[in-house]
Symmetry: C2
Subunit: 219 residues, 2 copies
DNA sequence: GTCTATACGGGGATAGAC
DNA sequence: GTCTATCCCCGTATAGAC
């Protein structure tokens, strides 16, 4: 309700940026108001307090992530193609919008995600579940090795992309750049590497690499 | 100097726990003092201000991590054994001491690691460099595939372990437990999986499967 | 809906006694 | 070295005018 309000979404946007950059405790209501170009008392009109403003930001974010993630996982293609597509989307989201992943990350770190239990359960029941099903399908079709726990495999694949953005400042220095992180081209190169690395680990073991694609019809 | 002082280390220990759990902004001097069982003014005697107290905590932590990491990487053995040993240590450190990884993680997230630039450069020049050399050695010896950037491979391997602990609350829910994270046995199982997954990706045959798939035929 | 003005508390930091 | 007492700022939140 009242979604048309410009001030309301301005506040949400400003809050998202600040919470992502400085965390809950490090962000002040007055600063958000200044960013949004409104008076600080207005924040209490739209959202009851700082806590609920944070919740509203988090809600909006997780819902968008789940929506895009599930849609990508349900795209047509082989399990390998769908997994690659999902990892690609992950890179787009985490790398593209500067306030997306940092906010999720903070929520995980700040209070052991206590404020996001419901949202995480949603992710578990939709996106994560779907991702595991893709791995399982690949296993049934013989493209992926069958001796892996699909949930562990899913976590490993996602981790290689996620942690790159988590540790972005450190990785920037590791690779000879700055704490701003590596330049875009290096990020892209890493993301390609990570997808290949994941598929290599998942692919059926060396014995019969060429025969792995039994039912595969090269399209 | 003055390392014998009990109050000083008590303060450092208490500060480490609080900073790890609640972050810099979320932690108060008075609370740290209460945890350490000393008066809050004493913190200003040993450390000039909150900022320097935080720095001291971070210093102590990174130095211990580097020391243990490098020692493990320089242990005798094949590249595979040394990589496995390093990932095992990573799991021990991150999983074992509850304030170790959360503090590093916060530093990465909080201000793009601005407070830890020097420490990260130390890690880059010692531990990370050493880890890359292990991968390179494996490549020269033919145990690991040669078509990977050793730095990217190193990052991928570490990521699979690190992100598991980063996202611990979420992964706990994903696997049907709580935001406290999965039980110890599941953590151990995942760590074994991650090491195997990493080695599988590194050992995968060079070109045959990946290229064959493109053409859809492997003679 | 949006603003001004303000209360109320809490946090960092200091002076100085012991 | 350790504590008591205190200052001062700033952040959240509310009351109420427009």
């Amino acid at each position: 309700m009242a979604t048309g309000s410009s001030a309301r979404t301005d506040i949400l946007d400003a809050a998202q940026a600040r919470f992502a950059r400085q965390g809950f405790d490090g962000t002040t209501i007055k600063l958000i108001a200044a960013d949004a170009g409104v008076n600080s008392a207005l924040l209490y009109y739209y959202f009851r307090d700082k806590e609920r403003l944070y919740q509203a930001v988090l809600d909006r974010l997780v819902q968008e992530m789940v929506r895009r993630g599930v849609r990508r996982l349900e795209a047509p293609g082989t399990p390998e193609e769908r997994l690659r597509g999902f990892l690609e989307l992950q890179g787009e989201i985490f790398g593209g919008h500067p306030h997306f992943y940092p906010l999720l990350l903070r929520e995980l770190v700040d209070h052991a995600a206590a404020r996001a239990v419901e949202q995480i359960k949603l992710v578990a029941a939709t996106m994560f579940r779907r991702l595991c099903e893709v791995v399982e399908q690949g296993q049934r079709e013989g493209a992926f090795r069958g001796d892996l726990d699909p949930r562990f495999a899913a976590i490993s694949c996602v981790s290689m992309v996620a942690h790159f953005f988590t540790a972005r400042p450190a990785i920037g220095l590791f690779l000879g750049h700055s704490t701003q992180g590596p330049p875009r081209a290096v990020v892209q190169a890493y993301l390609r590497h990570a997808a290949d690395f994941a598929i290599a680990a998942l692919s059926a073991p060396n014995l019969a690499p060429a025969r792995a694609r039994l039912k595969g019809s090269a399209r």
